[in-house]
């Protein structure tokens, strides 16, 4: 179980003549990912979703709030003491082409972390080779053909599977997959998504999925908790199927409206939401962060920032003064 409360992070850019510029990346984010559970962070680039993923994986510090891994708060611990906790959380990066050392065979890539693991747990000789074959089988690769290969001899989808296998060598409790399928060929994406779902079910590994494509988040599991992040704030939160079917925050609705419609196979939603303008750095911080772009902003939106809450008739949490269901997503022709 991994929980975060009030996670806050501000990046300070080295200043110009006017002094330092501060960029708030996360503004008090709460989350909880249970053992074997899954969550997805979605939002545009720059919304803070990757920063949050890196904080959870122990690759980035936070300014305020607390991360607790299996009940142990991380900030009181020294860096060395944190390591065994954060080792339970492994990151799968976006680009499987740069995540593997091109001069090492797949065996060598897996052997290094396994040797470390063997030392820690006092495993006999021979265990490393056995385990290397085992983790490759777990990700759907044939150890006999893959172990002696170099990364350039494998397709993008196979490389991403190797990256996942490498993460599994240290017996993690959670995988953090940051845009893990966006560089994979379309015909193979579902295979990687199905693998992550399968690892959840078979090994009880939790999966945190970070993406800008909401549709992919469904494939990790319909019970998956969806966090829609906008400018460092969670603006809507609930089970992925609920939010896709009935989003109430105009930002979530904008994200869903932007997904291409397969005309001929689907018809578009009746009330697509298009933001008034693009995301810009100089947009106002006062009140609702989405207000400058929101087509539905009303009284009070720019005065005080709405916080995540549950209101009458809306099952999921949302941070909007005027939540309303709108038909934004495309439906198959066959349903009509």
């Amino acid at each position: 179980m991994i929980t975060g409360t009030g996670i806050t992070k501000t990046f300070k850019q080295r200043g110009n003549m006017l002094g330092k510029r501060e960029v708030p990346a996360l503004r008090g984010v709460d989350f909880a990912i249970t053992k074997g559970g899954s969550a997805s962070f979605i939002g545009e680039s720059g919304c803070g979703k990757t920063t949050l993923g890196r904080i959870i994986a122990g690759l980035e510090t936070y300014d305020a709030g607390e991360i607790a891994i299996d009940g142990t708060p991380m900030s009181p611990l020294k860096v060395k003491q944190r390591q065994p906790h954060f080792r339970k959380i492994q990151m799968i990066h976006q680009d499987p082409y740069s995540a593997l050392n091109p001069t090492r065979t797949i065996y060598q890539t897996l052997q290094a972390p396994l040797a470390l693991r063997a030392g820690q747990t006092g495993r006999p000789e021979g265990w490393i080779d056995e385990r290397a074959a085992e983790v490759l089988s777990l990700v759907g690769l044939d150890p006999g053909t893959v172990l002696s290969r170099y990364p350039h001899q494998l397709s993008g989808g196979m490389r991403q599977r190797v990256v996942i296998a490498r993460a599994l060598t240290v017996d993690p409790e959670m995988l953090v997959a940051d845009e893990a399928v966006s560089m994979i060929d379309v015909s193979l994406r579902l295979g990687i998504l199905a693998l992550l779902k399968d690892l959840r079910e078979r090994l009880g590994v939790s999966v945190l999925f970070i993406t800008h494509d909401v549709a992919t988040a469904r494939y990790i599991g319909g019970d998956s908790e969806l966090y829609v992040i906008y400018r460092g704030q969670v603006v809507e939160r609930g089970p992925v199927d609920t939010i896709i079917a009935d989003p109430v925050h105009p930002y979530t609705q904008s994200l869903l409206s932007a997904i291409p419609v397969l005309h001929g196979l689907e018809r578009p939603g009746e009330e697509p939401v298009v933001p008034l303008e693009s995301l810009a750095e100089d947009q106002s911080d006062s009140g609702c962060l989405f207000a400058p772009r929101c087509p539905f902003r009303g009284d009070g939106c720019t005065d005080e920032r709405p916080l995540l809450q549950v209101t009458d008739g809306v099952p999921q949490e949302h941070a909007c003064y005027y939540p309303r269901r709108r038909s934004v997503i495309a439906r198959p022709m066959s349903e009509v």
Binding site: V186, A194, P275, L279
Partner: protein, 329 residues
Amino acid sequence: MADQAPGVRIDGLTVVYKTPAGELPAVRGISLTLEPGTITGIVGESGSGKSTLALSLLNAVQPPGRIAAGSVEIDGLGDVVGLAGEQLRKARGAHIGYVFQAAQNSLNPLKTVGKQLLDLGRSHGVEDLPGLVREARELLGRMGLDGARVLDSHQHELSGGMRQRVGIMLALVLNAHLVVLDEPTTALDMITQANILKIVREVHAERGLTTLVITHDIGVVAEVADRLAVMYGGRLVEQGPTREVLGAPRHPYTRGLIKAIPRLVGDIDEARALPGRPPTLATVPKEGCVFRERCPQRMDVCDTVDPSVVADGARVVACHAVTVKEHAS
């Protein structure tokens, strides 16, 4: 050059790359017509040959690649495969605008957009440079940007979506009427992507263009293209009006590809990845159907005989299984 959308006729185009294993075809025997004023989308995975095909329109395939056979006839230009030197250089930019893959990174980081625009003008012998700047400002304004500010900016001061629009401006500013967009929205967010696709549609209609969009994403084609062509292993396996192909795909690859797209609604278990992997230059079969290794309808004939391209009205498909089924019915 006439101020109107040109038609393009690609006929029997084959492009080969020299490798240690001999010359291998990245694009093989492709025939495709772009009707004047239409948007055609070419969809393919990595290694399908889609970018090579697009470069052939500019006769810009770089060694070790070369156009080995076929022609690319463009109205007002003739066969670009026969063009060379100064003629070719003039055609690029003035007649054919090209927005490169990752246009976000194709700008010179050391020069402002405006300076690069002037370089472009000078290299094409534009005499009225103030006019060119005016035109660029108008185009940028049309795409929702502050033209003057963008021209004064370096690329690092622009967001991904803004750079993509600068790429489109540079492709159109010399008044080209044939435009090729290679992966116009890769690496952009969903909302930015939707915005760029809307701009592509509107600018296409307003300026009277013939447009070719190359992408791995069927969704992108579904949003903008009148016609859809699907490439696999260097071959064109299916083409037709976008809505008809999406609504009733015929080639097993097209069907599989559509099924493999993560969707917002529908049964998750029905969606599945295609088995196997896309072929590379080295692994693409030399004879028979290029898709057979991954095909659920594979027959004996697929191993030895290349399926011929069969036209049925506006629909074109190259598949033995489809041909057999039609003869049976």
